[in-house]
Amino acid sequence: MLLVDPRYKFNVELIARAEQHFAESDDISVMVSNSIQFHSQATRRYVDITHVGTKAIIVRYYDSASPFQKEVSDSLDRYDTDMVELLQSIHNWMFLESGEVLRTHSVLNHNFIRVLRHNKQIYLRPSGWTGDLVAEVEGIKNVAV
């Protein structure tokens, strides 16, 4: 009997669902080494998903075409990850135009919204303390509330 690592099971299920999600696309590729990476040849954007410990995954969104090599990341609980939302988030990231809004998945009931505008990323999240919206611009916290 083979007892399979839950992280491997997660990868297999995500890839299987991704095959369905991107069934109409001839642009997206996936590869696995120590992490799962989804690539878009057309937009030169990619998403890297890494397991951390036994429960968490980190999802990093990269833009190779950007002069700033943009990267944003989320840390998710693997067991709470909604794969449909995660794949939609990856899909949106791949084909997002500048100035559009990227709505990513829910994390612990917090809705993350990212806005790309003039090659700058504004990252909105609800404050864990006050519930107010906190904005981060390129990693500088509390620029706008």
């Binding site: 009997m1 083979l2 007892l3 399979v4 690592d5 992280r7 491997y8 297999v12 890839i15 991704a18 095959e19 999600h21 991107f22 069934a23 109409e24 696309s25 001839d26 997206i28 590729s29 996936v30 590869m31 696995v32 080494s33 120590n34 397991h51």
Partner: protein
């Protein structure tokens, strides 16, 4: 069209599926763990007091898969390491080697046969005690 997968991913999924099928009726309880640099198959036999590992490494650059077999038995550090470096066409051979590794017993014969003209090591272990301090012989 569809999502395209790299050779490594296709091979990995095929190997794990083949090993899973090969061990389905086996008494051996083998765990597959993700580790840094690859995947580790691991088993511990409480009766024979041995542990065995098969470390499946991926090389994206070389487009190869390598399996390193190591094992321990009581009062001996290890009885050898075998490395199979296979092309992606050796998936069945690799999967069978992993299944065999967990199926053989002490005083084992672990025989990975050569597959046509592909470059695969042939390793034969006749007797565990003969290996002490010598490591595995490969031909």
């Amino acid at each position: 069209m569809s999502l395209s997968k790299n050779n490594q991913l296709v091979a990995l999924q095929e190997i794990v599926a083949a090993v899973e099928a090969g061990l389905a009726d086996s008494a051996a309880e083998v765990r597959l763990n993700m580790v840094n640099g690859g995947y580790m198959f691991y088993a511990y036999n409480d009766t024979s007091k041995y542990s065995r590992y098969a470390f499946l490494r991926q090389s994206i650059i070389e487009d190869t898969l390598t399996v390193e077999f190591t094992g321990t038995i009581p009062h001996e550090l290890a009885f050898g390491t075998l490395t199979l470096k296979a092309t992606l066409t050796d998936i069945t051979l690799l999967a069978n080697a992993i299944v065999n590794w967990y199926s053989v017993t002490n005083g084992l014969v672990f025989n990975v046969s050569k597959d046509g003209d592909k470059e695969v090591n042939l390793v034969r272990v006749a007797n565990v005690s003969a290996l002490r301090g010598k490591g595995i012989r490969s031909e």
